[in-house]
């Protein structure tokens, strides 16, 4: 093993194996980032059901990203996310982000 080691916990990684992980993991990640494009290109024109499914991707994925706030967040976060939901019908995105973040920070500062 090289003298260059990783980690407090005692596991030891050579510099070469760390760079191997970086490059291999990077290649795999890039694969996922254009894999969907290749699938679409291979299958060519999509059947209507597949097109409907693809249309649903943004709403489905972004909802899934947000969802845990509802259960894992404290009450300030739950209230804030509902308020932001209503605000987002009217206000620009950045304003909603600033107001929502401010509400949560304020609630935490007050110990709510």
């Amino acid at each position: 093993m090289s003298s260059e080691t990783l980690l407090s916990t005692g596991a030891s990684w050579s510099s070469g194996s760390i760079w191997f992980v970086i490059l291999a993991a990077g290649a795999l990640t890039y694969l996922t980032r254009f894999g969907g494009y290749v699938l679409i290109a291979v299958f060519g024109t999509l059947p209507p059901r597949a097109a409907a499914a693809l249309d649903a991707v943004p709403a489905a994925v972004m909802t899934a990203i947000i969802a845990p706030v509802v259960v894992s967040g404290d009450w300030a976060e739950r209230v804030a996310i509902v308020v932001c939901l209503v605000l987002s019908l009217r206000l620009p995105l950045i304003v909603v982000v600033i107001l929502g973040t401010g509400m949560v920070a304020g609630a935490r500062a007050l110990g709510v």
């Binding site: 260059e4 990783l6 980690l7 407090s8 916990t9 596991a11 760390i18 760079w19 992980v21 970086i22 993991a25 990077g26 795999l28 990640t29 890039y30 996922t32 980032r33 254009f34 969907g36 494009y37 679409i40 290109a41 999509l46 209507p48 059901r49 597949a50 097109a51 409907a52 499914a53 693809l54 249309d55 649903a56 991707v57 943004p58 709403a59 489905a60 994925v61 972004m62 909802t63 899934a64 990203i65 947000i66 969802a67 845990p68 259960v71 894992s72 976060e77 804030a80 996310i81 932001c84 939901l85 995105l93 950045i94 909603v96 982000v97 973040t101 401010g102 949560v104 920070a105 935490r108």
Partner: protein, 255 residues
């Protein structure tokens, strides 16, 4: 159809206004992304990675959750194949992103697509879908957002690796709340789209369940797939890839 050889200068909307729109959107998400990058950089430095290795993870993989997971597994002495498998699993959701976004890249050259997919992270996917639903997604818009976000990720990684404890408590500033609100705002722009409520409702429920049962980031892939499955089962009602407006008559629709 536009045949611009990828040169965004010849697009109808001016490049300057495209850049302005993209950077204005980006400003809303940087406060969430940069603290996360700083946390990653600080953890990597504490784990004993060199500055170049720390930057290597951010610059080559460019996916925060999987970078932290890889570090954690390596610290436990896990075998390389299991580190790589974990990274692949955590980043699986990008397959869905690239499948969906590939339909909006008509103005991109082959080389621009190759670089564009490398930069395809969650916020860039979100804003690009919103942009494409409103107007043509141009390379200028996409890369203004994507490249500045990428640079910010590297800079924040460097800051974290250098000054580990700079932001000692991001939660006190509510910074962990920025991303959920950001995606909430993005997702609400799709509310007029066909099947929005069954899709979003299903994703919400399944994501919560997956989060409870398996923990992050499985809730994204499983919740997302569940909503997509609902859309596939119910099927199309209008022409696909059109934002639905209730008042707009659509003569001659088949299904």
């Amino acid at each position: 159809m536009t045949f611009t050889d990828g040169s965004s200068q010849s697009m109808p909307p001016s490049a300057a206004s495209e850049r302005y729109d993209a950077l204005r959107e980006l400003m809303a998400v940087l406060p969430a992304v940069m603290p996360f990058g700083i946390v990653y950089g600080a953890v990597a430095a504490q784990e004993g990675l060199s500055i170049w290795q720390t930057l290597g993870f951010s610059g080559v993989i460019y996916a925060g959750a999987s970078q932290l997971a890889a570090l954690q597994l390596m610290g436990l002495g896990a075998p390389i194949w299991s580190v790589l498998l974990t990274v692949l699993a955590l980043n699986f959701r990008h397959v869905l992103y690239s499948a969906s976004i590939s339909r909006h890249l008509g103005a991109f050259s082959g080389r621009q697509k190759a670089l564009g997919f490398f930069l395809l992270v969650d916020p860039l996917f979100g804003v690009s879908e919103v942009r494409a639903a409103r107007t043509q997604l141009t390379p200028t818009y996409y890369f203004s957002y994507g490249l500045v976000l990428y640079a910010s990720w590297l800079v924040s990684t460097l800051i974290g690796a250098t000054f580990g404890g700079l932001i000692s408590d991001p939660a006190a500033l509510g910074l962990d709340f920025v991303l959920p609100v950001y995606f909430l705002g993005l997702v609400m722009t799709f509310r007029k789209r066909h099947l929005f409520y069954p899709v979003a409702g299903t994703s919400l429920v399944v994501s919560v369940l997956a989060y409870k049962l398996f923990g992050p980031p499985w809730h994204v892939s499983l919740g997302g797939l569940a909503g997509i499955a609902v859309a596939a089962v119910i099927g199309p009602q209008r022409q696909p890839d059109l934002t639905a407006f209730e008042t707009e008559p659509k003569p001659g629709e088949g299904a």
